[in-house]
């Protein structure tokens, strides 16, 4: 069977190639600038759609591509652009779509998938005729292959939308998905000026600093690329240290893959204590300095 993978994101591209090449022949269509990052992950061919930008013109370009090939499945990385593309393509090609999947298998000619539901509180396992899937980040740990994929440049379809400008997001070079220790802060931290009090622990544990949705998106105390959760990064470090994080399900969905979870929270009934391996009930600003000291 043939599988066409599309993503505008290089990490998702290589995760999906690694995951789907186990059961199908994979082809990659991508808009990433630098294809060298994705050319060692087993794609039979890479279609480089350099100039496509928006869901409409990307979907149109993919539609043309699909009409000249035989793809049993089209799998699309769940990004802002990817979700738009999947909806359009599903209607244009009259193929059913299943969204935000985290697992996939074929059973008796049907598609069996898993995805989060009720904001991450449950996992929905469904059997369907879907042959277009959007895939949640973190579906596999990318593994390289020795041979390089052949690259073909594909010119993009016309767009009714004009690109006015691109704005870089304020972000550093943090790569939470690859961090082996993460210290993550939530609303319990109280205010932005308290963040420096956490930094000695981050250093002592050789960790990356991350935060919950309110910290990164609502208050902007940390940059957006440090957000862990359903709408942010899905991380799986060896150690995840949650400080003042209540443990809303949307957050849990982003850190469920962590090997060991440590939680410090003053609220004994915080849901995070149901999702941790080790926890301390108490004030983070009393505990963190002592913990840092104990690590030295």
């Amino acid at each position: 069977m043939n599988c066409l993978v599309f993503s505008d994101n290089s990490d998702l591209s290589i995760q999906m190639l690694t995951y789907f090449r186990k059961s199908m022949d994979t082809y990659l269509a991508t808009t990433v600038n630098d294809v060298s990052i994705v050319e060692n992950y087993g794609a039979k061919k890479i279609f480089h759609m350099k100039d496509a930008v928006f869901p409409n013109d990307i979907a149109k370009t993919l539609e043309n591509l699909v009409s000249s090939g035989n793809y049993d499945y089209i799998v699309i990385g769940s990004t802002a652009i990817g979700r738009g593309v999947a909806g359009i393509l599903s209607h244009k090609l009259k193929r059913e779509v299943m969204a935000e999947i985290s697992e996939f298998r074929i059973d008796g000619g049907k598609t069996v998938t898993k995805r989060f539901f009720y904001g991450g509180k449950t996992v929905l396992e469904e059997k369907s005729d879907a042959t277009i899937l959007t895939v949640m980040p973190g579906i596999s740990d990318p593994e390289k292959v020795s041979e390089k994929s052949q690259v073909e440049d594909i010119s993009s379809a016309e767009s009714a939308i004009t690109l006015v400008e691109k704005k870089e997001k304020k972000s550093g070079t943090v790569d939470l998905e690859k961090a082996s220790v993460i210290v993550s802060i939530g609303r319990g931290i109280g205010s932005q000026d308290k963040i420096p009090l956490i930094e000695p622990l981050v250093k002592a544990a050789h960790a990356e600093l991350a935060g919950s949705r309110p910290i990164c998106l609502d208050y902007h105390w940390l940059s957006e690329d440090r957000q862990v959760g359903l709408s942010g990064k899905k991380v799986k470090p060896k150690l995840y240290i949650a400080l003042g994080i209540s443990g809303q399900i949307q957050h849990i969905a982003g850190m469920r893959g962590s090997k060991t979870v440590i939680a410090i929270n003053k609220d004994k009934s915080a849901p995070i204590f149901e999702e941790c391996d080790y926890g301390i009930v108490g004030d983070i600003f009393q505990i963190v300095p002592k913990l840092t000291e104990a690590l030295k």
Binding site: R83, T134, V181, K259, Y278, A294
Partner: protein, 248 residues
């Protein structure tokens, strides 16, 4: 210049109150209160802001049930002028929802359609693209900022690694993110007036679709150790050991 704006709203069970049966892992949905979905509020707010600045009319469409009047009243209180509830919603199925909603949209003259980018309960994000394809109107997705000028809409789209500013001619579809605005709390007078306003309720036209078979829908099992210390000193000693182990 005034605009005809359609805003799509959704009513969901209050997922923050959703409990899961601890032995079977099944969600306890029965009896849960319903609420206007979070992003629907952002969508309504953005529509109302455009109307306040440029004038026009806002029509809300909700694919829901007879119980969706409370969601529509909330939208009215925030500033929606007219509302349609299409009854017959039974569950998350973006293709069916797109079909039902697009039929209603075709009956209503419009310049701008506004909806949330990913609803809080299912997170699929499929409706925006489906509507764009069905209605053949360009999609400006994941908006954190919207500017309207004459017959064009300029939208800042929040992507994962960058923001892009995009411009398209009306009619356009704009999906909004939670960050775009802070939805207003309407004053009591507006809520009371909204309560008396007529809501159009129509049965949605669609053929039943049972192509998706649910195999299971349960809470993921947590296999964490859940060793929680209330004795801080003891906890610090133990946890320092765990961290040192994890750092190796």
């Amino acid at each position: 210049m005034p605009y005809n704006i359609i805003v799509l709203i959704k009513q969901i069970v209050d997922i923050d109150l959703l409990k899961v049966d601890s032995s079977t892992g099944t969600p306890q949905v029965q009896g849960l209160p319903l609420r206007l979905e979070n992003l629907s509020k952002n969508a309504v707010e953005e529509a109302v802001r455009i109307k306040e600045k440029h004038g026009g009319k806002i029509t809300a469409i909700c694919f829901g049930t007879e119980k969706s009047t409370s969601a529509m009243k909330e939208a009215y209180a925030m500033g929606v002028d007219e509302g349609y509830i299409l009854t017959g919603y039974t569950g998350n199925n973006p293709s069916l929802t797109a079909d039902v909603i697009s039929k209603k949209i075709r009956e209503i003259p419009h310049d701008i359609i506004i909806l949330g980018n990913q609803s809080a309960e299912s997170y699929t994000g499929m409706l925006q693209g489906k509507l764009s394809s069905i209605l053949e109107e360009p999609l400006l997705s994941d908006a954190v900022k919207v500017e309207i000028n004459e017959r064009s809409a300029t939208v800042t789209m929040a992507l994962e690694n960058e923001n892009i500013v995009a411009k398209a001619q009306m009619p356009v579809i704009i999906s909004v993110t939670q960050e775009i605005n802070d939805p207003r709390f309407p004053p009591v007078m507006q809520i009371m007036t909204a309560g008396r306003k007529k809501i159009n309720i129509e049965a949605a036209q669609f053929s039943p679709d049972d192509k998706i078979e649910v195999l299971s829908n349960t809470a993921p099992r947590s296999e964490r150790k859940k060793t929680v210390f209330e004795d801080q000193e003891k906890g610090i000693t133990e946890i320092a050991k765990v961290i040192r182990e994890g750092m190796k």
